[in-house]
Symmetry: none
C-alpha cells in the first residue's frame, strides 16, 4: 500500500498560493471552574470571526493518550508521522542552543567538569558554573580548537555548565558510547566505539576531550569536559522535495528553528518579540509559499501553571493576527503542537484545537475558536500529520488521485 | 514503526493512582418508539451528573460493522487489538465453565456420546442428557481418572451433554485433530497429531478417551465421549508486565474471570449478587491500581429482548455506583464490551457508549450518559483498545513521548 507521504508527493503541484501554519505552542487547555479553557476564555474576536468561516477540528499528534514532546508534536504538524520519524535527545538539545547539525555531522551534549591530576572526575558539573562563565570558557575553547584531524569542531554555549559541540567531517559515526563516568570520584571514562566503523570517531572524540582539558588546565573549577549523547541529524526528506512548496520558518526560539531546519525549511529573522515575529511574515511573503510561524509563550505560561497569562498571550496573538490576514493568505491553519493545560503545568495528551481557513472551507458556522467548538467541528478528530496535506488541498496544490 | 502497545509499555510509570473500568456487558442499545435507548431511558442521576464532568465517546471494539463476541470485546477493553490477539473457541468454552487453563495446558470441549460394542458412534450427544446427569457422570469420571501417563486430567461439567477437560503436563501440543467422527453411524475417529511434536499428546488423548469409555461402559446412554477443539492458552503479555499496573478482576461469571486471568489479572471474590460485586471493590482497594468490574445482567436482559428489564439493571448499577465513587478513584471508565440492543436480542455492531471521568477530563458539559450524548462527546469515536492507554494518561501513568 502506498504511504500517505508518497501519495501526497505523487499528487503535489506547484502554484503561487500562500499557506500559513500559525502554531501557538501548547495551545490546548483544560477548563477552569466556569467550564472554559484558556482558549475559550480569551477574548479573540478575530479568531472567533474566522472560526465561523473555517473548518474546525481536533488534532492528535501521536496517538490517543500520548503526551507529545515538542519534537514529535512539530514533526506531526509538518506531516511526518512521529512514530516513524524520531529525533534523538542529543539533536534536540543541539537545536535548543541553536546549533546547526548538517548531514553527516555528529553532535554531543557537553558538561564542563572538574578533573584532578590523575584524571579522576571530582565534579561532573564544575560546580554548576553560571552561564556567563560557561560562555567565556566556550569562547576560549573555540579560539584554540578549530579542528581535530580535519574534522571541524563548533562549540555552542548552553545554560550553566552545559554546552553543545558539533563535529563536521567525513565518515563520522554516532555509534559511540558516552565519554562520562556517570559518577563522581571515578576515573574518566573515555568514548568507546560500538563497532569498527566508529573507531575513527572514537579516536577523534577522545583527542578532542584531551585537547579541551589541556586548554582549560589553568581554569578552576571548569578544567575539563564530558561528552554524552553522540547523535547525527536524522535523515528526513525535506518539505520542498516532498511537496514542491517553498517553506519559511519564523520562530523566536532556537529549538523550533532547528526543528524547521531538519525538515528543510529556510529560516527567517523572526526578531525577538511577538510583534516582530508577526511583522516578519510580511518581510518574506513574496518568496515563499508555506510559512511556519511559532509562538512560544502560550506553552511557557501553561508550563508556569498561569491560566490568566496564557489567556493574555492568546489575546495578544489575536490582536496581532491582522499582520498575517492583511497579506491575504490562501490557506491559514491556527493550532498548537500539543496541549499545555495550565491546570497540569506541563504538556498533556489532550487533542489540540485546529482552525483551518480557506475560501474552500466547508465552514461549520461556529461562533468561536475553542476546544468545544473544535470537538463539534466539521473536521472531527484528525491525526496531526494529515494537516499538511489538507492545507495543500485547500491551496489547490494537489492533483486528483486516479482518473 | 513502534506499535501502540510497545509505545505505552516504554512510557509507563508506576504510581499509586487507582483506575476503575466498570463494564456493563452489552451496554449499548437501540432506541424504542420514543427515540430513547435503554441507557437513555434509565433513570441514572449519578451517571448523568458524572457525565457533565467527564469525557464522553463511543468505542468501536473491532471495526465498523463488526459485532464482537465477549472475547474480542473484552480483549479490546483490556488494550489488546482483537484482530491481533485472538482466543480460540475451545479456550473460551473452558473459561465459560470456570476451567483453569495454565501455560502449557491443553483443554478440549467434550461431548458425552452413545457408542456401540464395535466403537460406532450411535448418538454424538447421548440423547442430550440433562446437565445434572452430566454432572454426576463427570464426578464419577474425575474419581476414576486423575492422570494419564503423568499428565493431570481435570474435568469440568457443562450444560447438557457437554463438559470440558484440561490436560496439564509437559510437552503437550494443541496440534491434534478432533476425536469425533462428526456424523452418527460412523466408527469412532480417534485423535490424530498434525505433526511429530504432537504424537505424544495424540497418544495421551486416545488413551484418555478409551479410559473414559471403560469407566462409563455400564452407563446408558452416556457410555462414551468425544473431544474437539484442542487448545492451549494463548500467550498474551500480562497487563502487569506491559503497563506496571496491579490489576484486579471482579466478575460474578466464570468466563469473565477467565478472560481477566488470560491477561494476567488477579481474581477477587465478587460474590454472587450485584450488591456483593460492588462491595467487593472496596475489599481489594488498597492493594491494586486497576479494577475491572463486570456486570453481566445488562447483556442477559438484552439477549432476552427485554428492554424494560435491561433499563432496570442499568438503574440498579447507578444506585450501587456510590460504593465505587466513595473510594475516590482517580480514573473511572464506564462502558460495555459490545452493544446488546433488546431490539436485536443479541450482540450487535453498534459502538459502545463510554464515560471517562478524571480530574483531567476535558469535560463536555453533557447533561446525561447515553448514546446520543456520547456521539457528541469530546472523545469522539475511538478504538476500544486505546482505552487503557487513555485511562493511564488520565492516571498520570505515562511519560511524555520524545523531548
Amino acid at each position: 500500500m502506498i504511504s500517505r507521504m508518497d501519495l501526497l508527493q505523487s499528487l503535489a503541484i506547484e502554484n503561487e498560493k500562500k499557506m500559513v501554519l500559525l502554531v501557538m505552542d501548547g495551545l490546548g487547555g483544560l477548563p477552569g471552574e466556569d467550564g472554559l479553557t484558556e482558549l475559550e476564555k480569551a477574548k479573540t474576536p478575530l479568531m472567533d470571526r474566522l472560526a465561523a468561516e473555517s473548518e474546525l477540528g481536533l488534532l492528535s499528534m501521536v496517538d490517543v493518550g500520548i503526551t507529545p514532546g515538542s519534537g514529535p508534536g512539530h514533526l506531526s504538524l509538518f506531516g511526518y508521522d512521529p512514530l516513524t520519524w524520531s529525533i534523538g535527545r542529543g539533536i534536540l538539545e543541539a537545536l535548543g542552543v541553536g546549533a546547526h547539525v548538517g548531514a553527516g555531522d555528529i553532535c554531543a551534549r557537553g558538561n564542563f567538569c572538574t578533573v584532578d591530576a590523575d584524571g579522576v572526575i571530582l565534579d561532573r558539573r564544575a560546580g554548576r558554573i553560571p552561564s556567563e562563565e560557561s560562555a567565556r570558557v566556550v569562547e576560549k575553547l573555540q579560539k584554540e580548537i578549530k579542528s581535530i584531524e580535519n574534522v571541524k569542531v563548533t562549540f555552542y554555549p548552553g545554560r550553566e555548565h552545559r554546552f553543545v559541540v558539533v563535529f563536521s567531517g567525513e565518515n563520522l559515526s554516532e555509534e559511540v558510547n558516552d565519554a562520562d563516568p556517570q559518577k563522581e570520584g571515578l576515573p574518566m571514562r573515555w568514548a568507546e566505539a560500538r563497532n569498527e566503523k566508529a573507531l575513527r570517531t572514537e579516536k577523534i572524540i577522545n583527542a578532542f576531550i584531551r585537547k579541551v582539558w589541556e586548554v582549560l588546565k589553568d581554569e578552576n573549577p571548569a578544567n575539563g569536559c564530558l561528552l554524552r549523547g553522540f547523535s547525527s541529524a536524522p535523515h528526513i526528506p525535506s518539505l520542498k522535495e516532498l511537496y514542491k512548496i517553498k517553506p519559511m520558518a519564523l520562530a523566536t526560539y532556537p529549538m523550533y528553528r532547528g526543528l524547521a531546519r531538519l525538515v528543510g525549511m529556510e529560516i527567517g529573522n523572526a526578531g525577538e518579540t511577538l510583534e516582530q515575529l508577526f511583522d516578519a511574515v510580511g518581510n518574506y511573503w513574496k518568496d515563499y509559499s508555506y510559512f511556519y510561524v511559532h509562538v512560544k509563550y502560550t506553552d511557557s505560561r501553561g508550563e508556569d501553571g498561569n491560566f490568566a497569562e496564557k489567556v493574555k498571550i492568546i489575546e495578544e496573538v489575536d490582536r496581532l493576527l491582522p499582520k498575517i490576514l492583511d497579506l491575504k493568505p490562501d490557506v491559514l491553519a491556527i493550532t498548537g503542537d500539543h496541549s499545555t493545560p495550565s491546570f497540569l503545568s506541563g504538556h498533556s495528551w489532550h487533542e489540540v484545537p485546529l482552525l483551518l481557513w480557506s475560501p474552500f472551507a466547508r465552514r461549520c458556522n461556529a461562533v468561536e475558536f475553542g476546544e468545544k467548538a473544535c470537538s463539534a467541528g466539521t473536521l472531527g478528530r484528525m491525526q496531526g500529520d494529515k494537516l499538511i496535506g489538507l492545507m495543500m488541498a485547500h491551496g489547490l496544490k494537489l492533483n486528483k488521485y486516479g482518473a
